[in-house]
Symmetry: C2
Subunit: 231 residues, 2 copies
């Protein structure tokens, strides 16, 4: 995966030039909270996090799912304060980089700058992708896309037809993330299961086994409005 290569390369470059501290967090831990002062960027080296934000009506919107090797924390740069909260979903390893120090390092090593901008560009592309391509898909196809995206990001390079993947999010959060209801998420998964495309590999239904990856891809593509090169 290009993004994996690029951002881990970036991270190793960084280690020599700025202080990069490691941080281990566990499911439910808040890495940064919405409204808190922005000081630090993070790189996910292992694990998974979600970025969320509370609404007035008590609901919690979910913005994105972050897996290694994603960067985290760009939402604080614009306003000086974090716009979203970042919450770990499982045991998660983070590399923490002070933004001020990073700025200094970028001055000295311009190639770092380009690499960082590329990372920010990828983050933007992901959001644009979700906002434009996923928007009008029927729920089952949207769920399928989510699974394919999850597989590609968590098992990069794996090309088998059967792939097991653990869902890092509960149904409720998946629903929020995909812009649908818990019931629709459940129905979509049941539908894919009855089609023989996926199966559950644990009792809690949190581990999904994709039984036929090409078929799932075909299913998603069939009614998909858009095709995009994998970024």
């Amino acid at each position: 995966m290009q993004s994996a290569g690029t951002s881990s390369a970036l991270l190793s470059l960084l280690r020599d030039r700025v202080q990069v501290t490691q941080r281990l967090v566990h499911a439910g831990d808040v890495v940064y909270a919405s409204g808190s002062a922005f000081t630090t960027l993070f790189v996910v080296t292992r694990g998974a996090l979600k970025t969320t934000r509370d609404c007035l009506d008590g609901r919690t919107r979910v913005a994105a799912l972050h897996l290694a090797p994603d960067w985290l924390g760009f939402d604080g740069i614009a306003g000086g304060a974090c716009e979203w909260s970042a919450i770990a979903l499982c045991d998660t390893q983070l590399a923490c980089i002070n933004y001020g120090e990073l700025l200094n390092a970028l001055r000295a090593w311009p190639s770092l700058l380009q690499a960082l901008h590329a990372e920010m560009g990828r983050e933007m592309a992901r959001h644009r992708q979700v906002a434009t391509a996923w928007r009008r898909l029927p729920v089952t196809e949207r769920m399928g896309r989510f699974l394919l995206d999850l597989i590609e990001r968590s098992h990069p390079g794996d090309s088998g037809t059967r792939i097991a993947v653990a869902l890092p999010l509960a149904r409720h959060d998946i629903a929020e993330l995909l812009g649908m209801t818990v019931e629709s998420v459940s129905r979509a998964l049941s539908h894919l299961k009855h089609e023989g495309l996926i199966g559950f590999s644990d009792a809690a239904h949190r581990c999904i086994e994709v039984l036929d990856l090409p078929a799932l891809q075909a299913f998603v593509q069939a009614r998909s409005v858009a095709v995009q090169p994998t970024l």
Copy 2:
């Protein structure tokens, strides 16, 4: 508006330090095309553009509407090639900045760097906003949000209750942008008109007059899932 202030301040700082060329384009002109090599960032100083991309099925997705003082072109940074096409919607003035030169200037003046990052952060926030907050609104509320957003960006600081605004996009493009159909756009506008919230000020129905801004805001807020500080 903070974004206006920030990014025009950034632009004047830039003028002293990198070569900033002016470019005037007209409705329909392609500023950059999807797939072309990325070399330049743009700042919209007057006018409006849309970023679009063709799908396999012949439809054209619309990613965003760009008004002054937005930056344009970040989509090319990650991959070295423009992911989207930028098309002018009316007479539009652009400031063009070579990215390579910009990188050099950023090394010398770190405050520029922070300002640029802030601009990129705002771009991300806008997409995230659309992806999370607009997603689940009913079509009429989504249309109302679009109008409010448009007014805020095209008439910053205007606080009258009656404000006229020209729609830079045709119904079809608005529909694409908001993730709905042309018919729904039309019906949503008719609905808002029958509610007495808006009226048309030209025959072609491309100019909308908001008759009661607070009422429109209240209408949108009423069923809105989320509230966010204006970024």
